[in-house]
Amino acid sequence: MSSSLTSEEFELNMGPQHPSTHGVLRMLLKMDGEKVISCDPIVGYLHRSIEKMSENRTFAQVVPVTDRLDYCTSMTSNYVYVLSVEALGDITPPPRGQFIRTIMTELNRIASHLLWYGTFCLEIGATTPFLYSFADREKILDLFEMACGARLLYNYIRIGGVGRDLSQTFLDGMITFLDEWEPRILDYEALLDENPIFYNRTKGVGYLSIEKAKHYGVTGPNIRASGLAVDVRKDEPFAAYTDLEFDVPTSTEGDVFARYRIRMEEMRQSARILRQCFDKIPGGPASIPLNYRIKIPEGETYQHIESPRGDIGCYLVSRGGDMPWRCKFRTPSFVHIQIFRDLLPGVLIPDIMAICASFDIVLPETDR
């Protein structure tokens, strides 16, 4: 039978307002029917010139600006900026401060992975997991509210330490939360792991090889899912990570399913870290008193840490004044979006959502 069906290429704009991108990402797709031929991700809709704004504020005033980098993990972006300022100014926070920072970034990692888990499931059509994970994330936000009064934009990690010391109530509340929540990871997994629909939608979809991941500069859980065991917390330990034991989960599959599995395992490791922090947290002051308009000596530095999304870094230049001369953020999502150009051609429309969601991109961080 000779086929009389012909297909024609057409362009499709996915976004900037699209329910499955949770952020203002626009993808210019060239389609052949349901099949993607090429993809051009277009960003910049959320550009707020955070780097330019940082040049106009004192070192302490930049901290709340970094909150706005990534609303899912403000603690991490606070921390990477503060770490660069401290590296230039040769400031070492006291041990208790280091532990509090570790606790906060790890709690934030769990909160961010829970948010990812919920929205990822929504994107591939499962509503129930979202309700589970958001109820639990809420408890972490309550803890943050107890520590610093804010639920999303914390301004908590400051130069020389933290905003204010943690109370014993917080630490006890954290352990109560972990005791209640850790068994729930099994529930999350039970909802997806043995679900044939989920399995078919994710297994073998969006395969990312390790070479390609390196070539594109992919970091964090996404490269660990492709089989490279890199983690800044292990390779170049910061905060209190030298004193803590944890594993770096990896997988060699490199598909959407593997990226989901890695994040589940990471949440377990974070819980393990938090329990050790609870046992080991020393007494004493949490921060060292510093002048609010602190002057940082001349110099340049690049510091980076492990955010829930990958390798987040801050390149800071000071010319000896009380304001940064240049403050550049190297954000993981900016790098991860590029890879869609390579991964999406050849897939069908429903797989676009699964693949994009599996990379855990956050647009405010991309556009800065």
């Binding site: 960003v43 910049g44 550009h47 010139s49 780097e51 330019k52 040049e55 106009n56 390196k214 070539h215 594109y216 500069g217 490279l228 890199v230 390779d235 001349e298 110099g299 340049e300 530095t301 690049y302 980076h304 390798d311 870094g313 390149y315 230049v317 304001m323 001369w325 240049r326 550049k328 190297r330 900016f334 790098v335 979006i337 590029q338 390579d342 556009d367 800065r368």
Partner: protein, 154 residues
């Protein structure tokens, strides 16, 4: 390897290139504009250096006449880091692109072009990324003027 050792190794490979220590940035090595591309290529291809991860590229403006360009590289195998710094003239600076060596350079260079106005030769698709296509000026330069940009107090 430490930055000093890496610098020593590069000096052996390129005896004719004038490398300089960077006094402000201990992670960086200053290379002349004309040799940036061949040094970067060496970093990528030499199995003993094996810089397989380009972390980021950026600029820092120092008016009246200096514009620093930086590229940070990391090796997963050897776990060492090196930054190459190129001191450019302000005005209309240009550099060769690294997009064929590291795919990550594509968007990083577009960002530097967009915000600092550095033109990258050989870039596959050099256009603005953060700002609208018809935007004028390069926002992260220190002398950029816009009604919404408050002047930095001295």
């Amino acid at each position: 390897m430490k930055v000093a050792e890496l610098g020593e190794k590069l000096r052996q490979h390129f005896p004719e290139v004038a490398f300089h220590e960077d006094l402000e940035n201990p992670q960086a090595l200053i290379v002349p504009e004309s040799d940036y591309r061949q040094v970067a290529e060496r970093l990528r291809r030499d199995p003993e250096l094996d810089f397989d991860y380009l972390e980021f590229q950026t600029c820092c403006d120092h008016p009246p006449n200096r514009l620093d360009f930086l590229a940070y590289f990391y090796s997963y195998q050897y776990r060492h880091r090196l930054a190459l710094k190129v001191v450019l003239e302000r005005g209309l600076p240009s550099l060769p692109s690294l997009a064929d060596l590291w795919a990550n350079a594509d968007w990083n260079e577009r960002e530097v072009f967009d915000l600092f106005g550095v033109v990258f030769h050989g870039h596959p698709d050099l256009r603005r990324i953060m700002m609208p296509e018809d935007w004028e000026g390069y926002p992260l330069r220190k002398d950029y003027l816009h009604p919404n940009v408050v002047k930095r107090p001295d």
